[in-house]
Symmetry: C2
Subunit: 181 residues, 2 copies
DNA sequence: CAGTATCGGTTCGTTGATTGAACCATCTGT
DNA sequence: ACAGATGGTTCAATCAACGAACCGATACTG
């Protein structure tokens, strides 16, 4: 159970990274999960924020649910939402660390950089460092203890900013995992 | 320069993670980089170890070189090898953290788990923890200071093990980045 | 109660990527 | 001169991603 390779696999690569990528390595998947950490829960919001084809989003969500990374549950009659499971929440350090690499080595023209701060920190909090650790208290805060904010405020110019509800909400500081928008 | 999205892009996703994935998010790319950290440097060895189509490997290596993650350089007349740049080496924490997630949540039938130990540790060394940190000395050791070894020794049975030179070399403990095989 | 909107999809034709097999040019060793 | 290794390129077939259109269930509106 759960040990069978799913979807597009990397057969004969007997390796933890390959098995992680079988779940999380397809196009769009990590961006979907990023949005889940931000607090996005609904199909329509993911679509609006990511510009992802509906069929692809359906497929990715099904893969993630089957792998136990997301849980699908009803929030109203006939409406479902997707939330991170414990297995999914445990992806946070990997996601953060990869984003941090992008932040340092792939800065785009529009900026679009973000910081994550340990909001519930007994030592006052600071922006997360390598591995998702809080430099102030030395622990690895759970996503629910983090607040994120844009570093470069309002691009204004260049390419015009996105205007879906999620993008608008994320222009202000936001506590991770609290429902968005 | 360098700020332009490469290859399969995620347009309008003004986000560090999306920009990282434009370089590192295509199929096979992270497995190629894993092998580079192990010390694999040659086209033929990557091919034999990964079972990746030649054309795809050519394409991925070119993308990584263009992004400044790998450097291509001659090691003999008409022969080139690929080595990690500083930007590439900086991917280690992200790679390790994702592999660790796979290790914890996606254990395969053959095992195939690996540990990474801080071999050059002043405090005696220990297997790396979250974020790639050494629990003994508290630092983030560079890949060159690490030794890796298989946790489940010799699958013996189930599916027969791979028999390329790289797989054979990796069955014994190995210092990262030292040329393989 | 008919009409309309929203949500979470499915279906389908087109475009683009991945695959595996075949071929190729350069250099090395014998 | 020839064989083998290396690092590719080319090509047809398959498979995934894309975007537009359609769908069924549940509200909400007049």
């Amino acid at each position: 159970m759960g040990a069978v390779p799913l979807g597009r696999d990397y057969d004969r690569q007997d390796c933890a990274l390959a098995r992680a990528l079988e779940v999380v390595g397809e196009r769009w998947t990590l961006l979907v999960l990023r949005d889940c950490f931000f607090g996005v829960r609904r199909f329509a919001d993911l679509r609006a924020h990511l510009d992802i084809p509906r069929a692809v989003l359906t497929d990715r969500l099904a893969t993630l649910v089957e792998a136990g990374v997301l849980e699908r549950r009803p929030y109203a009659a006939g409406r479902d939402e997707y939330v991170l499971t414990d297995t999914g929440l445990d992806l946070w350090p990997a996601l953060f660390t990869l984003a941090r690499w992008g932040d340092r080595h792939r800065v785009g023209p529009g900026g679009g950089r973000r910081r994550f701060r340990h909001a519930d920190c007994p030592a006052g909090g600071a922006d997360l460092a390598t591995g998702g650790l809080c430099p102030a208290c030395g622990t690895l805060p759970p996503p629910s203890a983090l607040e994120t904010r844009r570093l470069d405020p309002d691009t204004e110019g260049e390419r015009e900013a996105r205007d879906d509800a999620v993008s608008r909400a994320l222009r202000r500081p936001h506590r991770l995992l609290t429902p968005l928008p």
